[in-house]
């Protein structure tokens, strides 16, 4: 289903933060905010829930560590016990360094893969850019015009209060939730 979106373009971090916070307080539905760098406090302003990625990191790290201890134990004292310089077969302290390394490796790689998975990032993906300047110096607040009560003039006023450089409305392409295309037909002419 296609949605009607309202976009406010801002020139600074402070402006977009203020506008986002106020838009949320007034009960508007925020589709997303696009920024050239990670703006701290913006997730709180948008009311986003904390990500669960640390759990992936923890789970895979733990699994990596446990698997490695088991594997080292199995190879050196079960599968092929070999006397090397009289060292004990199941010398747990000697297994610590490799167990640690494998734990870090698995935790790190799994977290990055999970990030790419949840954010749908993959090589060669065509970016759904709100504006080309987003990766340069532009901050864009995207609101969903979800009900008949959505007052465009009031929202425009809100954005202008926070020094918006420009505002516009767009129709989102079907099947691309939260994504907006520059080429999408404009619904209403904006000032």
């Amino acid at each position: 289903m296609s949605r009607l979106l309202f976009l406010g373009f801002f020139g600074s971090e402070g402006d977009v933060l203020g506008a986002t916070r106020e838009a949320r307080e007034r009960g508007y539905q925020i589709a997303d905010v696009y920024t050239p760098y990670a703006v701290h406090g913006l997730d709180a302003a948008m009311g986003l829930r904390p990500t669960r990625l640390p759990w992936i990191c923890f789970a895979f790290g733990l699994a990596g560590g446990l698997l490695k201890v088991w594997f080292e134990f199995w190879t050196t004292s079960v599968s092929w016990p070999l006397n090397v310089g009289g060292k004990p077969f199941n010398s747990l302290p000697a297994f610590v360094p490799i167990t640690f390394e494998v734990m870090v490796l698995l935790a790190g790689l799994s977290t990055v893969v999970a990030l790419f998975w949840t954010c749908r990032l993959y090589p060669g993906k065509r970016p759904m850019l709100v504006d080309r300047a987003v990766t340069n110096d532009r901050f864009v607040l995207v609101l969903v015009e979800d009900s008949a009560g959505f007052d465009v003039t009031a929202v425009r006023g809100l954005c202008e209060k926070h020094h918006a450089v420009h505002t516009e409305e767009r129709v989102e392409k079907p099947g691309e939730e939260l994504r907006v295309w520059k080429e999408a037909a404009r619904c209403r002419a904006t000032s």
Binding site: E13, D32, Y34, T35, P36, Y37, A38, V39, L42, D43, M46, L48, P50, L53, C57, G61, F71, E72, T75, T76, S79, W80, L82, V84, K87, S91, F95, P97, I98, F100, E101, V102, V104, L105, A107, G108, L109, T111, V112, A114, L115, F116, T118, C119, R120, L121, Y122, P123, G124, K125, P127, M128, L129, V130, R132, V134, T135, N136, D137, L178
Partner: protein, 460 residues
């Protein structure tokens, strides 16, 4: 109302000079990539590439002939190759330290230098990896260090050996550093993609920027993953050089068998790594005109880390000597007297001069803030730390328990060419990096552009 440039309290000095706007940051960082190589770049690249070719020739020769081409003998079984291996691994540590440890400590000045320091880490670890690989003698069987199911027993690798710990430590370190570096690059590659004018650039940056669109939902998760990776890489930095030191410390050779080795090696690694970061950054800021980004403040901060880690290294040298005497072990005592007064005394005193004495000059603010002198001192640190590894390895081995087996050691031309070749590889990679990728993390620097205003306003 005053009209001049705004002044800030000393603790809130801007991290980036020149009142840059976000757009200017993009322009400045992308300029070296978009404007094409200068003659200075070509000159540097060609010199490095020639060194790399020399290294390739030397490595091919020794792989074809065998490692009898080295100056090793039955007494000195480890020398130039392991010295170079530990040297290069040490260089790499500053990159991860800057990107991970300083990130966790909220040191915002790291943003201007973290990208190139991380690149330096990856290239340095690549250089380091070459040496044990050739040292195996039959590098085409290098996969034998991996625990894989086989029909030789099944014969597994020896998990109780520090040399295998090394394989896992270096492998993990390289992988995590490369992933960390690439992850940091993604938003900047998206910037380059959106600025690209040629088809090739559009394709390549489009391919590697993974469809990044600046969504805050992505940024939020990205920041979390960055934090997690920093948290994981921090103990990794400490563990890697600790494990490298275990290669020595778990043996029974006097001069190697010391519990001080792990912290001493880690401090030395950070010391030499920052030496190399300073060497590279001082040249980069001048050649690419990044003086506003890599400021005197950045250089000073790095110098302070050099004083701290250099002093730890100096303390470790003293402790080693004290313990050799206090242990009342005559072999241990002999090794240390032999280091300071024996045939390799010149190497030992070069090490002390370069690592303990000269870096103390950095206590003086006038010296710390003079890029020319700091550049020379950073080179001195690099030389000193190379000699440290040489001294630890060669002087501990060349006179062992049996005077009848005492021997001398000097590197052959092949060993020297391989070492030169590793520098060639390092700098060739670095020049290519400087030419094709953003050397400064735009996505992070933009976040600290208004640092002075924000922090001062909070105080007011």
């Amino acid at each position: 109302m005053s009209t001049g440039p705004r002044t800030y309290p000393p603790a809130h000095e801007p991290l980036i000079r020149g009142d840059k706007t976000l757009k200017q940051v993009t322009e400045d960082v992308c300029a070296p990539i978009e404007r094409g190589p200068t003659w200075l770049w070509w000159a540097g690249f060609l010199v490095s590439f020639c060194a790399l070719l020399l290294g390739i020739a030397a490595v091919s020769y020794q792989v074809a002939t065998g490692i009898g081409t080295w100056g090793l003998n039955r007494t000195v079984g480890w020398a130039f190759d392991i010295t170079n291996f530990v040297f290069w691994i040490g260089i790499g540590h500053a990159g991860t330290l800057i990107s991970a440890i300083l990130f966790l400590f909220r040191q915002k000045w790291r943003t201007s230098i973290n990208r190139s320091a991380e690149a330096m880490t990856i290239f340095a670890v690549m250089c380091a990896g070459i040496f044990p690989l050739i040292h195996m003698g039959r590098p085409w069987l290098a996969y034998w260090v991996m625990p894989y199911p086989n029909f030789r027993g099944p014969l597994w690798v020896n998990f109780r050996s520090p040399l295998l710990w090394d394989v896992f430590a270096i492998g993990t370190y390289f992988t995590i550093s490369a992933v960390f570096w690439f992850l940091g690059l993604v938003p900047d590659l998206a910037t380059l993609r959106d600025r690209a004018t040629t088809k090739t650039r559009k394709f390549l940056f489009g391919l590697f920027s993974l469809g990044w669109d600046g969504s805050n939902r992505t940024w939020m998760r990205y920041e979390m993953v960055y934090l997690l990776l920093a948290g994981l890489a921090t103990p990794l930095v400490l563990s890697v050089h600790t494990i490298v030191s275990f290669d020595f410390a778990t043996s029974v050779i006097p001069g190697w068998h010391a519990t001080i080795f792990p912290p001493y090696f880690v401090a030395g690694a950070i010391f030499s790594g920052f030496g190399m970061v300073l060497t590279l950054m001082l040249v980069t800021r001048k050649v690419l005109r990044f003086e506003d980004y890599i400021t005197i403040g950045h250089i000073e901060a790095m110098c302070k880390i050099i004083i701290a880690t250099g002093s730890i290294v100096g303390l470790a040298y003293g402790t080693e000597f004290f313990m050799a005497w206090y242990s009342a072990n005559e072999y241990e005592r002999f090794v240390f007297f032999n280091r300071a007064l024996g045939p390799f005394a010149w190497a030992y005193w070069t090490m002390v001069l370069c690592n303990v004495i000269t870096p103390q000059l950095l206590w003086f603010k006038k010296i710390r803030t003079n890029p020319g002198i700091v550049f020379v001192l950073s080179l001195v640190v690099n030389v000193g730390m190379w000699f440290e590894r040489f001294v630890i390895i060669v002087t501990s081995l060349h006179r062992d328990y049996l005077p009848s087996s005492w021997a001398d050691y000097s590197p052959t031309l092949i060993e020297i060419s391989t070492f030169v070749g590793s520098f060639g590889l390092f700098f060739t990679c670095f020049f290519l990096f400087a030419r094709f990728l953003p050397m400064i993390a735009m996505g992070e620097v933009k976040g600290v552009v208004g640092y002075a205003e924000r922090t001062t306003n909070v105080l007011e």
